[in-house]
């Protein structure tokens, strides 16, 4: 379990670096001031919804994997 958490942290760091270097490469910066509170709320809901969908997909995949192991 600890190895899995370690991998997730590692993966997050890689993604952070990827985003940072891509923005730096194009000399762009994400401007938080362009979003008002309503936009932020909508994006937050969107991200939560997508996160839930991905979690569901991953959970189904894990359950199927466990069932395969039990049968095997």
């Amino acid at each position: 379990m600890s190895n899995n958490n370690g991998f997730e942290n590692f993966s997050t760091q890689i993604i952070d670096m990827l985003v940072d270097t891509t923005l730096k490469k194009h000399g762009a910066k994400l401007d938080a001031e362009k979003l008002d509170s309503q936009d932020k709320e909508r994006i937050r809901n969107l991200v939560e919804s997508l996160k839930q969908s991905v979690d569901d997909l991953t959970r189904v995949r894990k359950e199927e994997g466990n069932q395969e192991k039990e049968k095997g």
């Binding site: 952070d16 985003v19 932020k40 969908s53």
Partner: protein, 194 residues
């Protein structure tokens, strides 16, 4: 020996092709650089950029047809990614069989989640970066880096069988969706949304 003959033959063809259109001292300077004068080279009608001009492997001055000066990952069309996702397909054929149990992940749902994540990333970048072109380039750049075996075809054929249990999972798309979600979260965190 046979290959060497072909090589010489192609070399002669290359020379003769250039000489036909050459106006400068009966020599094509791209093929045989004898003349060092710049003015002479400027008159050279042997246009290498002309698409009708056949590429010659023996001419070191000619760019390969697949060579591009700019970063090709940025210049690709925006629809390329979505096209790749749509190529994911699953085919299950069960013939003359009984007691067959097939469990399959809903691939279409997985694809929809992936497309939704890509759209959300593009949306967040487009509304938070003032320069439209820069936003498009960043989106393209990110998707190009994240492209990982999105073409996934599963084919299952069961014939004349009894008591078969099959489980198929579209693992590639599930993993890719997780990575896209991480990218989306990394972007919105920088916008103080989360």
């Amino acid at each position: 020996m046979h290959n060497q003959r072909n090589f010489l033959l192609e070399r002669e063809r290359s020379k003769s092709h250039c000489r036909k259109v050459d106006l400068c001292d009966n020599q094509c300077h791209h093929c045989e650089s004898h003349c060092k004068e710049d003015s002479c080279h400027k008159q050279d009608p042997c246009d290498k950029k002309d698409p009708c001009h056949k590429w010659s492997a023996l001419d070191p001055t000619m760019d390969h047809p697949m060579h591009f000066d700019n970063d090709s990952t940025i210049n690709q069309e925006a629809s390329g990614q979505l096209k790749n996702v749509q190529q994911s397909s699953e085919c299950i054929v069960i013939k003359d069989s009984c007691d067959v149990d097939v469990q399959s992940t809903d691939t279409q749902a997985a694809v929809n989640i992936q497309v939704a994540l890509q759209a959300a990333i593009a949306l967040v970048i487009s509304i938070s970066i003032a320069d439209t072109n820069a936003g498009d380039e960043i989106t393209q750049d990110l998707f190009a880096k994240l492209k990982s075996s999105q073409v996934n075809k599963q084919q299952l054929y069961i014939e004349n069988s009894r008591g078969v249990n099959v489980t198929t999972t579209d693992t590639d798309i599930a993993v890719n969706a997780q990575i896209l979600l991480q990218v989306l979260i990394a972007l919105v965190v920088r916008l103080d949304v989360l």
